[in-house]
């Protein structure tokens, strides 16, 4: 809002003063929110780093274990055994709130199953298969955890960015423009006051 587009009236001045007060209050709150989100973000970032390295390790381990199982038992054995494992892990998606940001909470069940509840017969299989299954169960758990933490981190980052833009807009655009308009109206009103006084004096003289 340019100062020249403003009507230099007393009611407009009162309106502007209200807007400036509101903007300054919002600016303060958004700044606090931004700082809070940044703190939360760094807390989650360290967790995400740990989970990511655990995920990498689990992936490497799963690759080695499935490699050994496929080498020793053959890919067709691994494939045939996988046919017997029909039950997919159950995933429940919930959400919770961190300073106004809605982040996911992923709960999983039946990812890890005991060796005798996996669906394949034990006499016809070997520990090569068991260990490949174990390592993939671990990998799926880590993927679910990483998905939750990394999505939270992404959502926080998006919100930090959004809040930062709002803070900057209020600090460097909205509040200065409103202040400028307020000063303009104040000066214009003073000027009008002076003109009025001068006009009255002239009328008195005449």
């Amino acid at each position: 809002m340019g100062a020249k587009e403003v009507k230099p009236t007393r009611s407009e001045l009162i309106e502007l003063k209200k807007k400036i007060k509101l903007s300054e209050g919002g600016h303060k709150l958004l700044k606090m929110k931004r700082d809070g989100l940044i703190l939360e973000f760094f807390e989650i970032l360290s967790k995400a780093k740990d989970v990511r390295s655990e995920l990498d390790a689990a992936y490497k381990k799963a690759n080695v274990k499935i490699g050994i199982a496929e080498a020793v038992e053959g890919r067709i054995t691994v494939k045939s055994t996988a046919f017997a494992m029909k039950d997919a892990p159950q995933i429940q998606l919930e959400s919770h709130n961190i300073m106004g940001v809605v982040v996911p909470k992923i709960e999983s069940s039946s990812v890890r199953k005991p060796i005798n509840k996996r669906g394949y017969g034990l006499l016809g299989t070997s520990s090569y298969i068991d260990e490949a299954v174990d390592s993939y169960e671990e990998l799926v758990e880590k993927i679910i955890l990483a998905a939750e933490i990394e999505t939270t981190m992404k959502k926080l980052l998006d919100d930090i960015e959004k809040t930062k833009r709002r803070v900057n807009a209020l600090e460097f655009k909205v509040i200065p423009e409103l202040t400028e308009a307020m000063i303009f109206i104040r000066l214009r009103l003073e000027e009008m006051e002076r003109e009025n006084t001068f006009r009255l004096k002239r009328i008195k003289k005449a």
Binding site: I68, V72, G74, R75, F83, P114, G121, L123, G124, Y128
Partner: protein
Amino acid sequence: MGLLQKFTRKSSPKQSGSGSNYAYVTARVRAMKSNLLPRETYPRLMNMGIDEITRFIGESQYKQDVDELARTYDGVDLFEHALNRNLAVTFTKLINISEGELNYLISEYLRKYDIWSIKTILRGKYCDASVEEINDSIVSAGQLSYPFLSSLSEKESYESIIDALSGTDYYPTLKGYDGTNLSEIENQLDKMYYTGLSTTVDNPKSNDSKLFSKFIRTEIDIKNLSTLFRLKNAGVEKDEIADLILEGGLHLSIKEIEKLLPLPFSEFVQSLEKYPYWENISGIVKTEMDSLVELETQLTKSNIKSASSFSHVYPLSIVPIMDYILNKTNEVRNLRIILRGKAADLDEEIIRNQLVI
């Protein structure tokens, strides 16, 4: 002639010892054994890249299998299927050239491939796999031929598969399958296989039969040991383990195993010291074990070693034939380990540890 009779290979009843052609089959097996790769080949293969190994396999006795499957598969899968096909053709040949009691013994031993294929077909149907996927995983190295097994995989439901097997020994077990208890049925089929083997070698009279009996009963011991290690390490209840124990072991009788069942893992490991298998596994087993892979490999090694140790004692018996079957299986296993291991970029040390040379 029923479909089953048409597509099953020649099989003889148990008591027909006089009609066996031991001399002929053992002579053929001796010739076939000379085609097996010598043990010094494996270290050479270990130093080769995947391309060199596939070329080596493509120029060896597996050439025909590789050529025939090259239209359907490629890469490492082609070679794995070629190895399995060669194994199936070789074992089918053994069934076809043997007669009488010998045919019965070989067929009984190779029945594990039939069981494997039936399990694979049921598993495939259970998870709605395509017919091609199921057929890809079948190894027809037993009594049931590939056309019969693939006709089973084409059936719409597990009920019709079981109906098609109504004339076989598997039917009474398969009848109990209700579409949900697959693992139970798989275990029962495997138990049936070992019970059948154990019955086959019951009360051996001749010396060579005694050796064959020893071989089978050692295999049962090793299977029991492996089951005990796997389930005890996973903390499975003793009653559930007891259901999976096989009868007819050489050193580990049911009574002996019943004593081991209630023991905690550490005590179980210590109590194995008195058995002859301890010598082979003592360096690997610990009171707490994260991985049983090394142990399983060691048990396989000791099984093959024990079979090889007495394979030359009775040249005109089932023993050298079983030794050949084991060595052929091991050759395929070793080639697959090297090939798949290198393709999966496994450490050389890991690959070497899995080899049974």
